[in-house]
């Protein structure tokens, strides 16, 4: 296994109290595999990613437990210098908002080249040549002329390509993409996702795709982990979960999105709101919004039950949920 997150816990100490952002997350990614982490805002999907990358703001954040095994090495036990070496070379991250992730006062060539200068000890001149190659590779037209341009001179889609180029620069074995296409228009989103998938195949990288878009997940993921209130509520191969969700939250999400290919009737709406992370309900965090909730859901936190060899569901009534379709 390329990456294995085991029982990860992250807390944030805020004025309103301790926000439990991640409460025992387990997931794994193999080489060449795409794992989609699906969740709404506040579900802990980005915080988990930041903990893996080692870019969590601490304080206020604090990793209170768990292991992050990358190539069988626990990242949480490494010294900061060792993590810095891994970050960029071995794993890289693509952020949602390319404009605020790029430095506005440096040319894109300088920013891409910096990777080679810092990590590979190249000369500025060689690094620039490599930058042009990279820009070509992510299909930025006229790369040679544009290598000296600043981020604001590129369109949103082109900026996201530069972000991808930067992440790919040192050919890492793991890429974490946090909502990489959310800020893009749909025609550009399709271009960027296609590029990402192609590069992943070429380099046989593991990809963690963090998103709230069920459509994007269906398009590219191999397996999926659904998060709610800092926990994984369901994991499954992507085909299975869309065909027959085993957790009421996943099921509700799938039913609440309108379809492009047919006109539906009234949308199913999950009642209520996601919980405040400083006051997560006892038992199953989803119980106040769940149509199937019983007394046991209000008292006992459901473990990840084994649905079959590849599927897990954190619902006391996963059997009933599967049957009730």
């Amino acid at each position: 296994m390329l990456l294995e997150v085991r029982d990860l816990h992250v807390e944030f100490h805020t004025r309103e109290g301790v926000a439990k952002a991640v409460n025992g997350v387990n997931y794994s990614v193999a080489e060449g595999e795409t794992l989609a982490v699906l969740g709404e805002s506040g579900s802990g999907k980005s915080v988990t990613a930041q903990a893996i990358m080692g870019i969590l703001d601490m304080p206020p954040g604090k990793i209170t437990g768990g292991e992050i095994l990358f190539k069988d090495q626990d990242l949480l036990k490494l010294k900061p210098e060792e993590r810095r070496r891994i970050r960029g070379q071995e794993m890289a991250m693509i952020f949602q908002d390319a404009l605020s992730s790029l430095n506005p006062v440096l040319t894109v060539g300088d920013q891409l080249g910096e990777m080679f200068v810092v990590h590979r000890g190249m000369s500025r001149k060689d690094a620039k040549a490599r930058s042009v190659e990279l820009m070509d590779r992510v299909r930025i037209p006229a790369a040679k002329e544009r290598v000296g341009n600043y981020p604001h001179q590129f369109s949103g889609g082109m900026r996201q390509r530069i972000m991808i180029a930067m992440a790919m620069a040192l050919e890492p074995s793991l890429i974490i993409a946090d909502e990489p296409t959310t800020a893009l228009d749909v025609t550009v989103q399709a271009q960027v996702m296609e590029l990402l998938a192609e590069l992943q195949r070429e380099l046989n990288m593991g990809l963690i795709l963090i998103t709230h878009d069920l459509g994007v997940v269906a398009d590219v993921a191999d397996k999926i982990a659904v998060m709610y209130a800092g926990r994984i509520v369901e994991t499954a191969p992507v085909h299975e979960i869309y065909r027959a969700p085993a957790h009421p939250y996943t099921k509700g999400l799938l039913q609440s999105i309108p379809r492009l290919d047919q006109k539906g009737r009234e949308l199913y709406a999950i009642k209520g709101l996601p919980p405040n992370l400083t006051r997560i309900p006892p038992g199953c965090a989803f119980n106040p919004r769940c149509p199937m909730a019983q007394d046991v859901c209000r008292s006992d936190v459901p473990p990840l039950y084994e649905v079959d060899e590849q599927r897990r569901s954190a619902c006391h009534f996963w059997k009933e949920t599967l049957d009730a379709r």
């Binding site: 037209p141 459509g215 309108p258 492009l260």
Partner: protein, 380 residues
Amino acid sequence: MAELKKEPVDATPNVSDVETVDAATEAAAVAAVDAPVSQGEPILQVRNLVKHFPLTQGILFKKQIGAVKAVDGISFDLYAGETLGIVGESGCGKSTVARLLMTLERATAGEVFYKGQDITKLSGRALKAVRRNIQMVFQDPYTSLNPRMTVGDIIGETFEIHPEVAPKGDRRRRVQDLLDVVGLNPEYINRYPHQFSGGQRQRIGIARGLALNPEIIICDEPVSALDVSVQAQVINLMEKLQDEFNLSYLFIAHDLSIVRHISDRVGVMYLGKMAEIGTDTQIYDHPTHPYTQALLSAVPVPDPAAREGRDRIILTGDVPSPANPPSGCRFRTRCWKAEERCATEEPLLAIPERFVAGATPATHESACHFAEERDVVHAA
């Protein structure tokens, strides 16, 4: 350096304007605006609407060097009680259309007839009456509510401007009724926006839009800032309110699935022009414009089984700048069908000749010389 000059939001006529308006004409206009419209009649008719934002150069002596052609000749009708969806990518001018219909911007040219009155030319009492009847729900429920005002004041403020709708002593009760209508606890009237979640804030925005009993509500991306599980709640609420109050919606969004769900008819915009318009079935199941086809095929469908079976059209390049749009057909620079004719002759929005005779679902307005039916939404 060229800079985009925003015209001041100044559609409110000044006092001298109002005085010069003939009182009898104005009274007639007010009466026309307040007259009822029966279901299925056009309530809003937009004709060749144009909005150009000037691009200027120089600091002291500003010189116009060009214009951003945000909306460049758009025509459509909105019928009473229907929902017309407008889709398009960012920069296509869909939000500018919303601002023009709200008379928040002055149109450069063209007309917007609301019950036969051209609202781009109205002023004074008649304009105020129009504004009461056309309301708006904004995209971002975080910035469109004043953080220093209570919910009661935010919704009640509309009655200060239009006191004829609710007498002073009755306003608090009216606001509480409105909160109840949008599914919020009426006791929340004294709370501030930060005490609500995103979905609840959008309900407050909707309550404000409803306060004056409008006939038309213009919704500019009303659910795109909300989480998936909350989106459905707000969409269902909007549909319920439409039936209850016989509202007409102009629903602007970039999410094509949501637009299909809520709309009776859909218009597809590209670079300030309407590319195609028709019923939801005509546009989604029988699109004839290449841009519509590309747009629809790019939408990821939440069904992994459809991954291989669907016809994907990946467009190359980005949307050109609206300050310098391509000649002829604006989509030709990204279109796989483009020929010489597309560069020289602008295609008009009309039912393509080859489809005029048959009454098939392809018989709807499409601005393409080579319009052709192609199903890109359903897996083969």
